[in-house]
Protein backbone atom coordinates (compact mmCIF):
# COMPACT_ATOMS: atom_id res chain seq x y z
CA UNK A 1 0.00 0.00 0.00
CA UNK A 2 2.72 2.44 1.01
CA UNK A 3 4.79 1.69 -2.06
CA UNK A 4 1.83 2.33 -4.31
CA UNK A 5 1.25 5.72 -2.72
CA UNK A 6 4.96 6.49 -3.04
CA UNK A 7 5.00 5.67 -6.74
CA UNK A 8 1.86 7.68 -7.24
CA UNK A 9 3.35 10.69 -5.51
CA UNK A 10 6.53 10.37 -7.57
CA UNK A 11 4.59 10.15 -10.78
CA UNK A 12 2.51 13.16 -9.81
CA UNK A 13 5.70 14.98 -8.89
CA UNK A 14 7.33 14.30 -12.24
CA UNK A 15 4.14 15.19 -14.03
CA UNK A 16 3.95 18.39 -12.03
CA UNK A 17 7.52 19.30 -12.85
CA UNK A 18 7.08 18.73 -16.53
CA UNK A 19 3.71 20.38 -16.52
CA UNK A 20 5.37 23.12 -14.63
CA UNK A 21 6.88 24.75 -17.64
CA UNK A 22 6.10 24.89 -21.34
CA UNK A 23 8.46 26.77 -23.58
CA UNK A 24 8.09 27.44 -27.26
CA UNK A 25 11.24 27.01 -29.35
CA UNK A 26 11.02 28.68 -32.74
CA UNK A 27 13.90 27.74 -34.98
CA UNK A 28 14.32 29.43 -38.34
CA UNK A 29 15.08 26.25 -40.29
CA UNK A 30 16.09 22.62 -39.85
CA UNK A 31 17.68 22.05 -43.23
CA UNK A 32 21.18 22.76 -42.01
CA UNK A 33 23.33 20.67 -39.66
CA UNK A 34 24.05 23.83 -37.70
CA UNK A 35 20.40 24.27 -36.81
CA UNK A 36 19.90 20.57 -36.31
CA UNK A 37 22.63 20.59 -33.69
CA UNK A 38 21.11 23.80 -32.32
CA UNK A 39 17.71 22.21 -31.82
CA UNK A 40 19.23 19.05 -30.34
CA UNK A 41 21.00 21.15 -27.75
CA UNK A 42 17.75 22.80 -26.76
CA UNK A 43 15.91 19.52 -26.56
CA UNK A 44 18.59 17.94 -24.40
CA UNK A 45 18.61 20.81 -21.94
CA UNK A 46 14.83 20.88 -21.82
CA UNK A 47 14.71 17.21 -21.00
CA UNK A 48 17.28 17.69 -18.23
CA UNK A 49 15.18 20.44 -16.70
CA UNK A 50 11.89 18.69 -17.21
CA UNK A 51 10.60 21.37 -19.51
CA UNK A 52 7.98 20.70 -22.14
CA UNK A 53 9.63 22.11 -25.25
CA UNK A 54 7.45 22.86 -28.29
CA UNK A 55 9.72 22.96 -31.32
CA UNK A 56 8.51 24.89 -34.35
CA UNK A 57 10.34 25.04 -37.66
CA UNK A 58 9.65 28.12 -39.77
CA UNK A 59 11.42 26.83 -42.89
CA UNK A 60 13.04 30.21 -43.39
CA UNK A 61 9.67 31.90 -43.90
CA UNK A 62 8.95 35.12 -42.00
CA UNK A 63 5.21 34.76 -42.23
CA UNK A 64 5.29 31.16 -41.03
CA UNK A 65 7.33 32.14 -38.02
CA UNK A 66 5.05 35.06 -37.20
CA UNK A 67 2.10 32.67 -37.21
CA UNK A 68 3.98 30.21 -35.04
CA UNK A 69 4.81 32.81 -32.41
CA UNK A 70 1.20 34.01 -32.36
CA UNK A 71 0.12 30.41 -31.95
CA UNK A 72 2.39 30.01 -28.95
CA UNK A 73 1.08 33.22 -27.42
CA UNK A 74 -2.44 31.85 -27.76
CA UNK A 75 -1.38 28.67 -26.05
CA UNK A 76 -0.07 30.82 -23.20
CA UNK A 77 3.37 29.25 -23.05
CA UNK A 78 5.67 30.30 -20.23
CA UNK A 79 8.39 31.62 -22.50
CA UNK A 80 9.33 31.84 -26.15
CA UNK A 81 12.82 31.11 -27.44
CA UNK A 82 13.11 32.69 -30.84
CA UNK A 83 15.69 32.17 -33.55
CA UNK A 84 14.31 34.79 -35.90
CA UNK A 85 14.16 34.26 -39.67
CA UNK A 86 14.63 37.99 -40.04
CA UNK A 87 15.68 40.64 -37.53
CA UNK A 88 13.08 43.19 -38.62
CA UNK A 89 10.12 41.10 -39.68
CA UNK A 90 9.78 39.37 -36.32
CA UNK A 91 9.60 42.55 -34.26
CA UNK A 92 5.77 42.57 -34.16
CA UNK A 93 5.85 39.02 -32.81
CA UNK A 94 8.15 40.00 -29.98
CA UNK A 95 6.02 43.00 -29.15
CA UNK A 96 2.92 40.83 -29.08
CA UNK A 97 4.64 38.43 -26.69
CA UNK A 98 5.69 41.34 -24.52
CA UNK A 99 2.09 42.53 -24.34
CA UNK A 100 0.96 39.07 -23.34
CA UNK A 101 3.55 39.03 -20.61
CA UNK A 102 5.50 36.16 -22.11
CA UNK A 103 9.28 36.56 -21.85
CA UNK A 104 11.25 36.26 -25.08
CA UNK A 105 14.78 34.95 -25.57
CA UNK A 106 16.46 35.40 -28.93
CA UNK A 107 19.16 33.06 -30.13
CA UNK A 108 21.72 33.23 -32.93
CA UNK A 109 20.19 36.36 -34.45
CA UNK A 110 18.72 39.49 -32.92
CA UNK A 111 15.45 41.33 -33.35
CA UNK A 112 15.50 45.06 -33.83
CA UNK A 113 12.62 45.93 -31.57
CA UNK A 114 10.55 44.81 -28.59
CA UNK A 115 11.96 43.74 -25.25
CA UNK A 116 14.04 40.65 -25.01
CA UNK A 117 14.98 39.01 -21.70
CA UNK A 118 18.12 37.46 -23.10
CA UNK A 119 19.98 37.49 -26.41
CA UNK A 120 22.62 34.86 -27.12
CA UNK A 121 24.45 34.73 -30.39
CA UNK A 122 27.80 34.34 -31.89
CA UNK A 123 29.24 37.61 -32.90
CA UNK A 124 29.25 37.44 -36.66
CA UNK A 125 31.54 40.41 -36.99
CA UNK A 126 33.99 38.63 -34.72
CA UNK A 127 33.47 35.53 -36.85
CA UNK A 128 34.58 37.41 -39.95
CA UNK A 129 37.47 39.05 -38.13
CA UNK A 130 38.77 35.72 -36.89
CA UNK A 131 38.61 34.24 -40.38
CA UNK A 132 40.54 37.15 -41.82
CA UNK A 133 43.08 37.18 -38.98
CA UNK A 134 43.92 33.54 -39.49
CA UNK A 135 44.09 34.10 -43.24
CA UNK A 136 46.50 36.98 -42.77
CA UNK A 137 48.62 34.99 -40.37
CA UNK A 138 48.82 31.97 -42.64
CA UNK A 139 49.61 34.18 -45.64
CA UNK A 140 52.29 36.02 -43.75
CA UNK A 141 50.57 39.24 -44.55
CA UNK A 142 50.55 39.06 -48.33
CA UNK A 143 48.80 37.16 -51.08
CA UNK A 144 45.72 36.86 -53.31
CA UNK A 145 42.48 36.11 -51.53
CA UNK A 146 39.09 34.97 -52.83
CA UNK A 147 36.04 35.87 -50.77
CA UNK A 148 32.89 33.72 -50.94
CA UNK A 149 29.99 35.48 -49.25
CA UNK A 150 26.67 34.21 -47.96
CA UNK A 151 23.06 35.02 -48.90
CA UNK A 152 23.05 38.64 -50.04
CA UNK A 153 21.15 40.79 -47.58
CA UNK A 154 21.30 38.39 -44.63
CA UNK A 155 22.60 39.90 -41.40
CA UNK A 156 25.13 37.10 -40.97
CA UNK A 157 26.55 37.89 -44.40
CA UNK A 158 26.69 41.59 -43.69
CA UNK A 159 28.39 41.20 -40.34
CA UNK A 160 30.90 38.59 -41.40
CA UNK A 161 31.88 40.52 -44.49
CA UNK A 162 32.28 43.62 -42.35
CA UNK A 163 34.62 41.80 -39.98
CA UNK A 164 36.64 40.30 -42.82
CA UNK A 165 37.09 43.59 -44.63
CA UNK A 166 38.02 45.45 -41.47
CA UNK A 167 40.91 43.09 -40.83
CA UNK A 168 42.04 42.68 -44.42
CA UNK A 169 42.17 46.42 -44.97
CA UNK A 170 45.02 46.49 -42.50
CA UNK A 171 47.15 44.40 -44.80
CA UNK A 172 48.09 46.37 -47.91
CA UNK A 173 49.77 43.36 -49.44
CA UNK A 174 46.69 41.19 -49.31
CA UNK A 175 44.52 41.59 -52.39
CA UNK A 176 40.92 40.43 -52.69
CA UNK A 177 40.98 39.27 -56.30
CA UNK A 178 37.44 37.93 -56.39
CA UNK A 179 34.36 38.59 -54.26
CA UNK A 180 31.30 36.54 -55.19
CA UNK A 181 28.25 35.24 -53.39
CA UNK A 182 27.77 31.51 -53.06
CA UNK A 183 24.61 31.88 -50.98
CA UNK A 184 25.89 29.64 -48.13
CA UNK A 185 25.41 26.72 -50.55
CA UNK A 186 27.94 24.02 -51.34
CA UNK A 187 27.00 23.43 -54.97
CA UNK A 188 26.92 27.12 -55.79
CA UNK A 189 30.28 27.61 -54.10
CA UNK A 190 31.81 24.84 -56.16
CA UNK A 191 30.53 26.28 -59.45
CA UNK A 192 31.56 29.82 -58.60
CA UNK A 193 34.98 28.74 -57.34
CA UNK A 194 35.62 26.71 -60.49
CA UNK A 195 35.10 29.80 -62.62
CA UNK A 196 37.19 31.94 -60.30
CA UNK A 197 40.04 29.44 -60.49
CA UNK A 198 40.02 29.80 -64.27
CA UNK A 199 40.37 33.56 -64.08
CA UNK A 200 43.04 33.61 -61.40
CA UNK A 201 45.98 31.32 -61.84
CA UNK A 202 47.51 32.67 -58.67
CA UNK A 203 45.28 32.30 -55.64
CA UNK A 204 46.69 31.88 -52.16
CA UNK A 205 43.61 31.71 -49.96
CA UNK A 206 39.86 31.40 -49.95
CA UNK A 207 37.79 32.87 -47.15
CA UNK A 208 34.29 31.38 -47.17
CA UNK A 209 31.64 32.75 -44.83
CA UNK A 210 30.55 29.26 -43.81
CA UNK A 211 31.67 25.64 -43.98
CA UNK A 212 29.30 24.58 -46.76
CA UNK A 213 30.85 27.11 -49.09
CA UNK A 214 34.36 26.26 -47.90
CA UNK A 215 33.68 22.60 -48.70
CA UNK A 216 32.38 23.55 -52.13
CA UNK A 217 35.53 25.57 -52.76
CA UNK A 218 37.64 22.60 -51.66
CA UNK A 219 35.85 20.38 -54.18
CA UNK A 220 36.47 22.91 -56.92
CA UNK A 221 40.13 23.16 -56.07
CA UNK A 222 40.39 19.38 -56.12
CA UNK A 223 38.61 19.12 -59.46
CA UNK A 224 40.88 21.69 -61.00
CA UNK A 225 43.93 19.89 -59.73
CA UNK A 226 45.23 22.97 -57.96
CA UNK A 227 47.04 22.91 -54.65
CA UNK A 228 48.52 25.13 -52.03
CA UNK A 229 45.39 27.20 -51.52
CA UNK A 230 44.45 27.93 -47.92
CA UNK A 231 40.71 27.50 -47.27
CA UNK A 232 39.03 29.07 -44.30
CA UNK A 233 35.47 28.36 -43.27
CA UNK A 234 33.21 28.55 -40.24
CA UNK A 235 30.31 27.04 -38.31
CA UNK A 236 32.07 23.84 -37.27
CA UNK A 237 29.80 21.34 -38.99
CA UNK A 238 31.09 17.75 -38.82
CA UNK A 239 32.12 17.71 -42.46
CA UNK A 240 34.08 20.90 -41.94
CA UNK A 241 35.86 19.57 -38.88
CA UNK A 242 36.74 16.45 -40.80
CA UNK A 243 38.21 18.65 -43.53
CA UNK A 244 40.36 20.39 -40.97
CA UNK A 245 41.56 17.01 -39.75
CA UNK A 246 42.30 16.02 -43.36
CA UNK A 247 44.16 19.21 -43.93
CA UNK A 248 41.99 20.47 -46.79
CA UNK A 249 40.50 23.17 -44.62
CA UNK A 250 42.99 25.29 -42.72
CA UNK A 251 40.74 26.90 -40.15
CA UNK A 252 37.14 26.37 -39.16
CA UNK A 253 35.65 29.09 -36.99
CA UNK A 254 33.36 26.78 -35.12
CA UNK A 255 30.21 28.01 -33.54
CA UNK A 256 28.62 26.13 -30.71
CA UNK A 257 25.02 25.86 -31.68
CA UNK A 258 24.33 22.98 -29.29
CA UNK A 259 25.66 24.84 -26.30
CA UNK A 260 24.05 28.09 -27.41
CA UNK A 261 20.59 26.59 -27.55
CA UNK A 262 21.08 24.76 -24.27
CA UNK A 263 22.09 28.03 -22.64
CA UNK A 264 19.04 29.63 -24.16
CA UNK A 265 16.77 27.04 -22.59
CA UNK A 266 18.31 27.39 -19.17
CA UNK A 267 18.13 31.17 -19.44
CA UNK A 268 14.43 30.80 -20.14
CA UNK A 269 14.08 28.49 -17.13
CA UNK A 270 15.59 31.16 -14.88
CA UNK A 271 13.55 34.00 -16.30
CA UNK A 272 10.27 32.11 -15.93
CA UNK A 273 11.16 31.33 -12.33
CA UNK A 274 11.51 35.03 -11.67
CA UNK A 275 15.28 35.32 -11.68
CA UNK A 276 16.46 38.37 -13.55
CA UNK A 277 19.48 37.91 -15.71
CA UNK A 278 22.28 40.33 -16.20
CA UNK A 279 23.81 41.09 -18.61
CA UNK A 280 20.89 40.54 -20.97
CA UNK A 281 23.05 39.54 -23.88
CA UNK A 282 25.70 36.93 -24.24
CA UNK A 283 28.19 36.46 -26.97
CA UNK A 284 28.94 32.80 -27.56
CA UNK A 285 32.60 32.20 -27.92
CA UNK A 286 33.83 31.13 -31.29
CA UNK A 287 36.39 28.38 -31.55
CA UNK A 288 38.84 28.59 -34.37
CA UNK A 289 39.54 24.95 -35.06
CA UNK A 290 42.84 24.18 -36.71
CA UNK A 291 44.84 21.04 -37.26
CA UNK A 292 46.53 21.64 -33.93
CA UNK A 293 43.44 21.57 -31.79
CA UNK A 294 41.03 19.58 -33.91
CA UNK A 295 41.30 16.41 -31.86
CA UNK A 296 40.54 18.30 -28.69
CA UNK A 297 37.56 19.87 -30.31
CA UNK A 298 36.17 16.57 -31.49
CA UNK A 299 36.66 15.12 -28.04
CA UNK A 300 34.82 17.97 -26.38
CA UNK A 301 31.81 16.95 -28.42
CA UNK A 302 29.60 19.47 -30.13
Amino acid sequence: MKSIILVAVMLIGIAALSMAMTIGFCVSTLNNPYFVSFTNGAKAEAQLLGINLIVMNANNSNSTQLNQVEDLIQRKVDAIILNPTDSDALVPAVIAANKAGIPVITLDRSVNGGTVAMYIASDNVEYGKLEAQYAAKLLNGSGNVVLLTGIPGASATRDRTKGIMEVLSQYPNIKVVANQTAKFDMATAMSVMESILVAHPDINAVIAENDEMALGAIQAIKAAGRSGIIVIGGDGIPQGIQAVKNGTEAVDIAQQPYKMAALGVSAAFFVVNGINLSPTSLSMPLFPVTKDNVDQWIASGD
Binding site: L30, N31, N32, P33, F35, V36, T149, P152, V177, A178, N179, Q180, T181, D185, M186, A187, M190, S191, V192, E194, S195, I196, V198, A199, E212, L215, G216, Q219, K222, A223, I237, Q239, Q242
Partner: protein, 314 residues
Protein backbone atom coordinates in the same frame (compact mmCIF):
# COMPACT_ATOMS: atom_id res chain seq x y z
CA UNK B 1 9.82 30.95 -97.35
CA UNK B 2 13.23 30.56 -95.77
CA UNK B 3 13.02 33.30 -93.16
CA UNK B 4 9.93 31.98 -91.43
CA UNK B 5 9.05 32.30 -87.80
CA UNK B 6 10.54 28.85 -87.24
CA UNK B 7 13.89 30.05 -88.51
CA UNK B 8 14.03 33.03 -86.19
CA UNK B 9 13.02 30.95 -83.24
CA UNK B 10 15.32 28.06 -84.04
CA UNK B 11 18.49 29.73 -85.16
CA UNK B 12 18.09 32.89 -83.14
CA UNK B 13 19.37 31.07 -80.06
CA UNK B 14 22.56 30.10 -81.80
CA UNK B 15 23.26 33.73 -82.57
CA UNK B 16 22.42 34.56 -78.99
CA UNK B 17 24.91 32.10 -77.62
CA UNK B 18 27.54 33.18 -80.13
CA UNK B 19 26.98 36.79 -79.17
CA UNK B 20 27.39 36.13 -75.48
CA UNK B 21 30.51 34.04 -76.03
CA UNK B 22 32.00 36.74 -78.23
CA UNK B 23 31.34 39.35 -75.57
CA UNK B 24 33.13 37.39 -72.86
CA UNK B 25 35.89 36.37 -75.22
CA UNK B 26 36.66 40.01 -75.82
CA UNK B 27 36.45 40.90 -72.14
CA UNK B 28 38.62 38.04 -70.99
CA UNK B 29 40.54 36.47 -73.84
CA UNK B 30 43.07 34.68 -71.71
CA UNK B 31 40.85 33.04 -69.19
CA UNK B 32 37.39 32.72 -70.66
CA UNK B 33 38.24 31.82 -74.19
CA UNK B 34 40.26 28.67 -73.55
CA UNK B 35 39.62 25.02 -74.23
CA UNK B 36 39.85 24.11 -70.57
CA UNK B 37 37.31 26.75 -69.65
CA UNK B 38 34.91 25.41 -72.25
CA UNK B 39 35.24 21.98 -70.78
CA UNK B 40 34.53 23.54 -67.40
CA UNK B 41 31.43 25.26 -68.75
CA UNK B 42 30.24 21.98 -70.19
CA UNK B 43 30.75 20.33 -66.82
CA UNK B 44 28.92 23.11 -65.05
CA UNK B 45 25.98 22.93 -67.42
CA UNK B 46 25.69 19.16 -67.36
CA UNK B 47 23.39 18.87 -64.36
CA UNK B 48 21.08 21.61 -65.60
CA UNK B 49 20.98 20.17 -69.11
CA UNK B 50 20.14 16.71 -67.80
CA UNK B 51 17.18 18.20 -65.95
CA UNK B 52 16.29 20.45 -68.88
CA UNK B 53 16.14 17.54 -71.32
CA UNK B 54 13.63 15.80 -69.10
CA UNK B 55 11.74 19.02 -68.62
CA UNK B 56 11.60 19.46 -72.38
CA UNK B 57 9.73 16.20 -72.87
CA UNK B 58 7.11 17.42 -70.44
CA UNK B 59 6.85 20.94 -71.86
CA UNK B 60 6.43 19.53 -75.36
CA UNK B 61 3.15 18.00 -74.22
CA UNK B 62 2.06 21.43 -73.01
CA UNK B 63 2.78 20.41 -69.45
CA UNK B 64 5.37 21.51 -66.92
CA UNK B 65 7.37 19.74 -64.23
CA UNK B 66 8.19 21.83 -61.19
CA UNK B 67 9.46 18.87 -59.22
CA UNK B 68 12.68 18.19 -61.16
CA UNK B 69 14.90 19.92 -58.61
CA UNK B 70 13.24 18.23 -55.67
CA UNK B 71 13.55 14.80 -57.31
CA UNK B 72 17.22 15.47 -58.02
CA UNK B 73 17.76 16.28 -54.34
CA UNK B 74 15.92 13.23 -53.06
CA UNK B 75 17.66 10.87 -55.45
CA UNK B 76 21.06 12.21 -54.52
CA UNK B 77 20.26 11.61 -50.87
CA UNK B 78 18.77 8.15 -51.40
CA UNK B 79 21.61 7.02 -53.64
CA UNK B 80 24.24 8.32 -51.22
CA UNK B 81 22.42 6.96 -48.21
CA UNK B 82 22.00 3.53 -49.76
CA UNK B 83 25.66 3.36 -50.72
CA UNK B 84 26.72 4.30 -47.21
CA UNK B 85 24.33 1.79 -45.69
CA UNK B 86 25.05 -1.17 -47.98
CA UNK B 87 28.48 -0.42 -49.34
CA UNK B 88 27.16 -1.30 -52.80
CA UNK B 89 27.52 1.36 -55.47
CA UNK B 90 25.14 -0.19 -57.98
CA UNK B 91 22.47 -0.77 -55.39
CA UNK B 92 22.66 2.88 -54.49
CA UNK B 93 22.45 4.01 -58.10
CA UNK B 94 19.58 1.65 -58.80
CA UNK B 95 17.71 2.86 -55.73
CA UNK B 96 18.20 6.46 -56.75
CA UNK B 97 17.11 5.97 -60.32
CA UNK B 98 14.20 3.84 -59.19
CA UNK B 99 12.98 6.60 -56.91
CA UNK B 100 13.31 9.15 -59.68
CA UNK B 101 11.27 7.12 -62.13
CA UNK B 102 8.73 6.29 -59.43
CA UNK B 103 8.06 9.91 -58.60
CA UNK B 104 8.00 10.75 -62.27
CA UNK B 105 5.32 8.12 -62.76
CA UNK B 106 3.35 9.55 -59.85
CA UNK B 107 3.47 12.96 -61.51
CA UNK B 108 2.39 11.46 -64.80
CA UNK B 109 -0.49 9.52 -63.33
CA UNK B 110 -1.82 12.55 -61.49
CA UNK B 111 -1.69 14.68 -64.63
CA UNK B 112 -3.00 12.05 -67.03
CA UNK B 113 -5.71 10.41 -64.93
CA UNK B 114 -6.67 12.75 -62.12
CA UNK B 115 -6.66 15.52 -64.70
CA UNK B 116 -4.92 17.90 -62.31
CA UNK B 117 -3.14 20.72 -64.17
CA UNK B 118 0.56 19.93 -64.40
CA UNK B 119 1.57 23.15 -62.66
CA UNK B 120 -0.39 22.30 -59.55
CA UNK B 121 0.36 18.59 -59.56
CA UNK B 122 4.12 19.03 -59.80
CA UNK B 123 4.11 21.94 -57.37
CA UNK B 124 2.48 19.63 -54.85
CA UNK B 125 4.86 16.76 -55.48
CA UNK B 126 7.78 19.18 -55.31
CA UNK B 127 6.72 20.20 -51.79
CA UNK B 128 6.14 16.63 -50.71
CA UNK B 129 9.43 15.37 -52.12
CA UNK B 130 11.39 18.22 -50.53
CA UNK B 131 9.87 17.23 -47.22
CA UNK B 132 10.66 13.55 -47.75
CA UNK B 133 14.28 14.46 -48.43
CA UNK B 134 14.50 16.40 -45.17
CA UNK B 135 12.97 13.51 -43.26
CA UNK B 136 15.28 10.98 -44.91
CA UNK B 137 18.41 13.05 -44.24
CA UNK B 138 17.20 14.39 -40.89
CA UNK B 139 18.58 17.69 -42.04
CA UNK B 140 22.13 16.36 -42.15
CA UNK B 141 24.26 15.99 -45.25
CA UNK B 142 25.40 12.50 -46.25
CA UNK B 143 29.11 12.41 -46.88
CA UNK B 144 32.17 10.18 -46.70
CA UNK B 145 31.10 8.51 -49.89
CA UNK B 146 33.26 5.93 -51.63
CA UNK B 147 35.49 7.11 -54.44
CA UNK B 148 33.64 4.86 -56.88
CA UNK B 149 30.65 7.14 -56.43
CA UNK B 150 32.79 10.24 -56.81
CA UNK B 151 33.77 9.05 -60.27
CA UNK B 152 30.39 9.94 -61.72
CA UNK B 153 30.65 13.63 -61.04
CA UNK B 154 34.38 14.04 -60.74
CA UNK B 155 36.03 11.41 -62.90
CA UNK B 156 37.23 11.46 -66.46
CA UNK B 157 36.82 8.94 -69.25
CA UNK B 158 39.48 9.35 -71.94
CA UNK B 159 40.25 12.80 -70.62
CA UNK B 160 36.64 13.91 -70.88
CA UNK B 161 34.76 14.51 -67.63
CA UNK B 162 32.26 11.72 -67.12
CA UNK B 163 29.43 14.12 -66.39
CA UNK B 164 29.88 15.61 -69.85
CA UNK B 165 29.72 12.12 -71.36
CA UNK B 166 26.48 11.46 -69.48
CA UNK B 167 25.04 14.74 -70.70
CA UNK B 168 26.05 13.96 -74.28
CA UNK B 169 24.49 10.51 -74.08
CA UNK B 170 21.28 11.96 -72.71
CA UNK B 171 21.25 14.55 -75.47
CA UNK B 172 21.72 11.96 -78.21
CA UNK B 173 19.03 9.69 -76.79
CA UNK B 174 16.59 12.57 -76.38
CA UNK B 175 17.27 13.77 -79.89
CA UNK B 176 16.81 10.34 -81.43
CA UNK B 177 13.62 9.70 -79.51
CA UNK B 178 12.03 13.04 -80.20
CA UNK B 179 13.09 13.47 -83.77
CA UNK B 180 13.29 9.95 -85.12
CA UNK B 181 10.75 7.74 -83.43
CA UNK B 182 7.02 7.30 -83.64
CA UNK B 183 6.78 7.95 -79.94
CA UNK B 184 8.54 11.27 -80.40
CA UNK B 185 6.04 12.35 -83.05
CA UNK B 186 3.26 11.51 -80.63
CA UNK B 187 4.82 13.64 -77.90
CA UNK B 188 4.75 16.66 -80.20
CA UNK B 189 1.24 15.83 -81.41
CA UNK B 190 -0.22 15.63 -77.91
CA UNK B 191 1.22 19.01 -77.11
CA UNK B 192 0.11 20.51 -80.39
CA UNK B 193 -3.51 19.42 -80.37
CA UNK B 194 -4.61 16.88 -77.84
CA UNK B 195 -8.04 16.43 -79.39
CA UNK B 196 -6.66 15.69 -82.81
CA UNK B 197 -4.20 13.25 -81.30
CA UNK B 198 -6.94 11.40 -79.50
CA UNK B 199 -8.99 11.27 -82.67
CA UNK B 200 -6.00 9.84 -84.50
CA UNK B 201 -5.84 6.98 -82.05
CA UNK B 202 -2.80 8.10 -80.07
CA UNK B 203 -2.89 6.87 -76.47
CA UNK B 204 -2.81 10.20 -74.68
CA UNK B 205 -2.40 8.89 -71.15
CA UNK B 206 0.47 6.66 -72.21
CA UNK B 207 2.30 9.62 -73.68
CA UNK B 208 1.65 11.85 -70.68
CA UNK B 209 2.67 9.33 -68.05
CA UNK B 210 5.82 8.46 -69.94
CA UNK B 211 7.08 12.01 -70.41
CA UNK B 212 6.89 12.65 -66.68
CA UNK B 213 8.63 9.38 -66.02
CA UNK B 214 11.40 10.41 -68.42
CA UNK B 215 11.67 13.71 -66.59
CA UNK B 216 11.95 11.84 -63.31
CA UNK B 217 14.64 9.59 -64.73
CA UNK B 218 16.75 12.47 -66.02
CA UNK B 219 16.27 14.37 -62.77
CA UNK B 220 17.52 11.28 -60.97
CA UNK B 221 20.65 11.13 -63.10
CA UNK B 222 21.16 14.85 -62.54
CA UNK B 223 20.75 14.41 -58.81
CA UNK B 224 23.33 11.62 -58.72
CA UNK B 225 25.80 13.71 -60.69
CA UNK B 226 25.20 16.63 -58.32
CA UNK B 227 25.81 14.59 -55.17
CA UNK B 228 28.81 12.97 -56.77
CA UNK B 229 30.33 16.25 -57.87
CA UNK B 230 30.21 17.56 -54.31
CA UNK B 231 31.05 14.29 -52.67
CA UNK B 232 28.08 15.12 -50.45
CA UNK B 233 24.32 14.68 -50.63
CA UNK B 234 22.90 17.81 -49.10
CA UNK B 235 19.41 17.87 -47.62
CA UNK B 236 18.44 20.88 -49.69
CA UNK B 237 20.23 19.94 -52.89
CA UNK B 238 18.40 20.74 -56.09
CA UNK B 239 16.28 23.44 -54.54
CA UNK B 240 15.41 25.96 -57.21
CA UNK B 241 16.97 23.89 -60.01
CA UNK B 242 13.65 23.63 -61.82
CA UNK B 243 13.85 27.33 -62.70
CA UNK B 244 17.14 27.01 -64.55
CA UNK B 245 15.90 23.86 -66.25
CA UNK B 246 12.76 25.55 -67.52
CA UNK B 247 14.79 28.61 -68.50
CA UNK B 248 17.10 26.45 -70.60
CA UNK B 249 14.14 24.85 -72.36
CA UNK B 250 12.45 28.18 -73.06
CA UNK B 251 15.66 29.86 -74.17
CA UNK B 252 16.16 27.00 -76.58
CA UNK B 253 12.99 27.89 -78.40
CA UNK B 254 10.58 25.29 -77.06
CA UNK B 255 7.11 26.73 -76.73
CA UNK B 256 5.50 26.56 -73.30
CA UNK B 257 2.23 25.87 -75.12
CA UNK B 258 3.56 22.57 -76.36
CA UNK B 259 3.96 21.00 -79.75
CA UNK B 260 7.21 22.52 -80.85
CA UNK B 261 10.79 22.52 -79.72
CA UNK B 262 14.25 21.58 -80.80
CA UNK B 263 16.48 19.40 -78.64
CA UNK B 264 19.63 21.17 -79.76
CA UNK B 265 17.95 24.39 -78.69
CA UNK B 266 17.63 23.14 -75.12
CA UNK B 267 21.33 22.30 -75.07
CA UNK B 268 22.10 25.78 -76.33
CA UNK B 269 19.77 27.27 -73.74
CA UNK B 270 21.61 25.40 -71.01
CA UNK B 271 24.92 26.60 -72.36
CA UNK B 272 23.73 30.19 -72.45
CA UNK B 273 22.97 30.03 -68.73
CA UNK B 274 26.26 28.34 -67.90
CA UNK B 275 28.27 30.73 -70.05
CA UNK B 276 26.61 33.72 -68.42
CA UNK B 277 27.40 32.42 -64.93
CA UNK B 278 30.95 31.48 -65.80
CA UNK B 279 31.75 34.62 -67.79
CA UNK B 280 30.35 37.03 -65.26
CA UNK B 281 32.21 35.33 -62.41
CA UNK B 282 35.46 35.40 -64.35
CA UNK B 283 34.93 39.10 -64.91
CA UNK B 284 34.20 39.40 -61.19
CA UNK B 285 30.90 41.16 -61.86
CA UNK B 286 29.05 41.77 -58.59
CA UNK B 287 26.63 39.04 -57.61
CA UNK B 288 23.72 41.46 -57.46
CA UNK B 289 24.19 42.43 -61.10
CA UNK B 290 24.56 38.82 -62.18
CA UNK B 291 20.97 38.08 -61.20
CA UNK B 292 19.70 41.11 -63.08
CA UNK B 293 21.62 40.20 -66.21
CA UNK B 294 20.40 36.62 -66.17
CA UNK B 295 16.81 37.76 -65.80
CA UNK B 296 17.14 40.28 -68.63
CA UNK B 297 18.65 37.72 -70.98
CA UNK B 298 15.79 35.30 -70.42
CA UNK B 299 13.26 38.10 -70.85
CA UNK B 300 14.89 39.20 -74.07
CA UNK B 301 14.97 35.68 -75.42
CA UNK B 302 11.29 35.12 -74.74
CA UNK B 303 10.37 38.50 -76.20
CA UNK B 304 12.37 37.79 -79.33
CA UNK B 305 10.64 34.49 -79.93
CA UNK B 306 7.15 35.86 -79.36
CA UNK B 307 7.95 39.05 -81.24
CA UNK B 308 9.35 36.97 -84.04
CA UNK B 309 6.15 34.98 -84.16
CA UNK B 310 3.96 38.09 -84.24
CA UNK B 311 6.06 39.82 -86.85
CA UNK B 312 6.16 36.93 -89.25
CA UNK B 313 2.49 36.16 -88.89
CA UNK B 314 1.33 39.64 -89.89
Amino acid sequence: MTLSNGFVRKYGVIFGLAGIITFFAIESPNYFFTASNFILISKQSSINILLALGEMFVILTAGIDLSVGAIAGLVGAVAAGTIVATGNLFLGLAAGIGIGIAFGLINGVIVAFAKVPAFIATLATMSAITGITLIYTQGEPIWNLPSSFDFIGQGNLADIPFSIILMALAFVCAWIILDRTKYGRHVYAVGGNIKASRAAGIKISGVLVSVYAISGLLSAIGGIVLASRLGTAEPTAGSGYELDAIAAVVLGGTSLFGGEGWVVGTIIGGYIIAVLNNGMTIMNISSYYQEVVKGLVILLAVMLTSFGKKYWNE
